[in-house]
Symmetry: C2
């Protein structure tokens, strides 16, 4: 039955692996820009004269944590990809690699959309009470980039879901 061989997990096509790597590189780049934007956004409080940065808002602190976690995850996945291209073997053998990809993409994509939503949820409210300023604009741009990064990771997660060996649970 040669047509069944294609459905076994060990024969993931080169095409989908290339798309996956591309998605991870894109996510990595968008997260990097998002990180720079939110980390460098600063403002001066008009009433007190205090300096304000992302650290003064829980939602932005959560957002920056999520960006760093997503960044580290994508770095790890890219390292795994490079290793497997160089050595010809996957880092995690058997089903382990597929489960790691599946749960990794799933959990990281949930974290990324939650970080983006928390950032947007706060930013729209701050924007209603303040005139246009570089602090909320940068935070908004950062949340938008995180959302785009999330979309790439969600697409990657769809790929790694279809690549799952479907005998494990059902």
């Amino acid at each position: 039955m040669p047509e069944m061989v294609e459905s076994t997990p060990s024969t993931r096509s080169t095409g989908s692996r290339t798309v996956l790597l591309l998605l991870r590189v894109l996510t990595f780049v968008f997260l990097l820009i998002a990180l720079i934007l939110i980390a460098t956004s600063k403002a001066i409080d008009a009433d007190t004269g205090d300096r304000i940065n992302f650290n003064d808002f829980y939602a932005y602190r959560y957002m920056i944590s999520v960006i760093i976690i997503g960044f580290a995850y994508n770095l790890l996945q890219m390292a795994f990809s490079i290793f497997s291209v160089v050595s010809g073997n996957r880092v995690l053998s058997g089903n382990g690699g597929y489960l790691f990809d599946f749960f990794g993409d799933k959990i990281i994509s949930y974290l990324m959309i939650s970080g983006s939503a928390a950032g947007f949820g706060l930013t729209v409210e701050l924007n209603r009470n303040l005139p246009s300023n570089s602090f909320t604009n940068k935070a908004n741009a950062s949340a938008s980039l995180l959302l785009i990064g999330f979309l790439f990771t969600a697409i990657a997660s769809t790929f790694t879901s279809f690549a799952l060996p479907n005998k494990a649970i059902t």
Copy 2:
């Protein structure tokens, strides 16, 4: 090759279907309570005397939209389950049902965590500037219930990912 038969999509076990239905019923109940809580949370503005409700905050409006979408999706899925138990057939035949479950659970779970995160992101900031009050407490409880509902849907999404016919993309 009788062991290959178990991996085909048409033989999803009764056990995992029961777990899925249970997860959807639990999500439904949690979303219902979350909806009641956020819809009934009210406050009086201490400065102006205006009535405040969820409608005055974009993050809460987004949260209530997400709760209603999740609610409708789970209602539909429960109706499909009941139909398939009564008639003995799935509503969507072939791979369509599995793809609908997979993408439905995936998209709805992303929506749910984003709604919950947006709600929390705003609530923690409101709570820092206000004394403890029933408005933000109810909003907090609603976001927490939405988060629990998300967890059930994320588990359901894992099940429907493993049930995917994995020949479609890889």
